[in-house]
Symmetry: C2
Subunit: 224 residues, 2 copies
């Protein structure tokens, strides 16, 4: 049996829905590769067009500009991640174990999900680490936020926040702790890879250390 996973995206993010055509799917597929390869600053629609074998104008029919495309990609990632977290933790009754498993999903690399042929999740995870925050670190966050572009991130944050409250209903900072887990999972990973002196994992360079750090941090914080 074949599966396919479809995530409904905010329509304001694109001019034409990239999931509905071959060219659209190629734009997503190749942009993930190209952003990972060149970094977001050095990534252009011209280069993307050449990689796909289409023209610049073709890309502009789908996305207004490369920043919208970045937001699309990151929003997709948050939606996909929340889906995974919910799916794979829903049968866990112990809230502590549930939160522990969720943290693992947030802080661990992924294999490519075969249900989504036009997205390589393992490269996407790397992009989120290096480029993800650039989606909202702009002068137009407020407008973008009004257009609900960051809803998937907020939803994930709310979900994790509720898991935290299930462990300790009196904990005062569930959302801030949720974003701390998510952001630090990425930042510590980036530092570990590129600026190891800023972490305690420079020697082993192993993701499991980040996981240990985050678990230690979270479960001490919410201890009753």
């Amino acid at each position: 049996m074949e599966y396919s996973l479809n995530i409904k995206m905010n329509e304001k993010l694109f001019l034409r829905n990239p999931e509905q055509t071959d060219l659209g799917k190629n734009i997503i597929l190749f942009s993930i590769q190209l952003i990972h390869e060149k970094g977001f600053e050095d990534f252009t629609f011209k280069k993307l067009a050449v990689a796909i074998g289409t023209t610049e104008a073709g890309i502009y029919r789908y996305f207004e500009n490369k920043h919208k495309l970045l937001i699309y990609i990151t929003a997709w990632y948050w939606s996909w991640l929340e889906f995974r977290v919910i799916t794979y933790t829903e049968n866990i009754s112990d809230p502590i174990e549930k939160l522990r498993k969720a943290i693992k999903f947030l802080a661990t690399s992924v294999e490519d999900d075969i249900r989504t042929s036009h997205v390589n999740e393992s490269i996407l995870h790397q992009i989120i680490i290096s480029e993800g925050s650039k989606a909202y670190l702009t002068k137009h966050v407020t407008e973008d936020n009004q257009d609900q572009f960051f809803k998937p991130y907020k939803d994930l944050c709310a979900t994790i926040g509720n898991y935290i409250l299930d462990c300790n209903p009196d904990y005062k900072y569930p959302r801030s702790l949720a974003t701390t887990i998510i952001e630090m999972a990425h930042i510590q990973n980036f530092f570990m890879q590129h600026l190891p002196a800023l972490t305690d994992f420079g020697k082993s360079k192993s993701e499991s250390n980040i996981l240990d750090f985050l678990e230690d941090l979270v479960f001490h914080a919410i201890k009753k």
Copy 2:
């Protein structure tokens, strides 16, 4: 009596030392204003030249490109912040109080420091929140790191890491906890201002809440 504070910067960051001439100081002064006003992506040397009343070529004599200028500015900030942390905590003997005070420095806005006439620290603090991470989130981090561009950040991280160890010599993640404090102080601040649903401080929008959250997090984490 007048004070003046001088921070020695990595010479590879500039082509001509901006602290030694009027034009150089203006470049720093106006670039901080302009980056704050327009955001880093929309900030150009052309616009900076017009703001100062000089020419583009004039700016290029001091800085290779706008990214080097951003690194310069952020590195300056980290150096200045570490100086402040060390200066204002050195007379505190209780390690807990010392760390508490340090966290306060990391998580609180500043007034403009009159000892540095060409830098507006209060705007600079806002820039670090919104643009700071862009200094290292690039494809050329490794080369930049080899040139020691991030040493001031690492030094600050090491200093805070030692404060943490003074509180609990057995704590396993002093550096990662230090970067967590620093990064989350900024990210929670940004979220509180622009994406309040990602924090627990959306209503009050008060920095003191971030401080409470961070203290709670840190002192639970290092409790023996």
